[in-house]
Symmetry: C2
Subunit: 285 residues, 2 copies
Amino acid sequence: MLYLIGLGLGDAEDITVKGLEAVRRCGRVYLEAYTSLLPAGREALEKFYGKELILADREMVEQEADSILKDADVSDVAFLVVGDPFGATTHSDLVLRAVNLGIPYRVIHNASIMNAVGCCGLQLYNFGETVSIVFWTDTWKPESFFDKIKKNRQNGMHTLCLLDIKVKEQSVENLMKGRKVYEPPRYMSVNQAAEQLLTIIQNRRLQGEEPEITENTICVGLARVGAQDQKIASGTLHQMSTVELGGPLHSMIVTGTMHPLELEMLKLFSVDSSTFENNAFQRNT
Amino acid sequence: MLYLIGLGLGDAEDITVKGLEAVRRCGRVYLEAYTSLLPAGREALEKFYGKELILADREMVEQEADSILKDADVSDVAFLVVGDPFGATTHSDLVLRAVNLGIPYRVIHNASIMNAVGCCGLQLYNFGETVSIVFWTDTWKPESFFDKIKKNRQNGMHTLCLLDIKVKEQSVENLMKGRKVYEPPRYMSVNQAAEQLLTIIQNRRLQGEEPEITENTICVGLARVGAQDQKIASGTLHQMSTVELGGPLHSMIVTGTMHPLELEMLKLFSVDSSTFENNAFQRNT
């Protein structure tokens, strides 16, 4: 049996009781280590589970999937994923490969950022399409996510923005020389995401567009959701460019039309309570 | 401290290790019992937690919230919610009331239907707005959810349809006589939801509209997601009107534009594999 087990978002104890029992029963336990980050770290997990974990980076999952699935038809193998196994990144490839090999699989779900963002008080059924905001480079500054946020907002919907993660990236030089030397991991902050959005707004104004989203649009910055030290900050997009939220992972929400109860909840997390007095209803006009 | 603890979707063991520890520490433990249904049932939870649970129905949460929060500033109280505390139904009211009383609160997340639907292989970031399909009555047959599904589909997005739950409903007669006698609980099935959608499609055709969604649109029926006996079935909307999925809770997805990998996953669950051969690409045209 292949178990795909969600670890949730915080520390080792965010695994479900069912998930923990499955991990302890499995012969080999892989930890997916390229699409997210569990603040706890591998050692803490190993200690809590009483099991050695095999780190599965992107190369391994994509190129050596058969080694992960080896003997899973006759023994139990676990594949651990931060959040939910079918959260922001799905592991359909691995599932399809298992099914084709006649290996039964089972999913043990957990919270992912896709549902845990509800903790800020914005209602999940008022969210439109989720977008990813990628790190801009000197030569590549895509703006397509902005148009998706705009469309959601025009429909009155909030947008969850997942912020870029660069893990095991190679510099162009190392890539060209075929050296498997990797850059330090980078995680986009709410500040950086807000800066990129503000730049796009300026660009659009230069093109004569009056953007649907402005510096004054109410946003929510979230850091380390589900962890003991999670932080939530609500305020204008401009405030998001300077708010202090600490270490990764960060996410950001651009709000659409807010229900009064949603607004009450957001006020609990306001960077500056006067923002909501001046701003909250203006944005619905 | 007020703990809002998600129970996940399956049985007692779907609580997180952290959640279980909090439950065992708390003086009073409430179980929210009106927006969802844990297949396990209350007794199984009580046995597993080693705690007596106080059932909190809608009346209690809305009218006696202060009794739930009593002494939570000096002792620990748990409020258990099937799925995630901020999933399909948020408990913002209770949180705001706690904050106003100076009671600290903590959320312990878990999977909810809002993220666990990813198990069918459709990617969560390809979902648009979630809709609720309500039971029609003789005199009330709203169609507004259809237009939201249509809009999502026009944008290429999938739609998660949450299906109606009627718990502790009173008949008109009992309501008028002020008798607290309740009807048996009712849970909408995928068959019923599909029937209502098919009726709307017929209505729209009579009005001269060529609906974006037809009998042949690919849908996914899901039952008891996260439980040991979960069932997933993919096929046309017409097939959804007769598919056998067993007991509650059910949800349904109306697909938008599908990525080949999403399609491969859906084929694993097809009611009739020939449907996908004939139909799958037609719907993207």
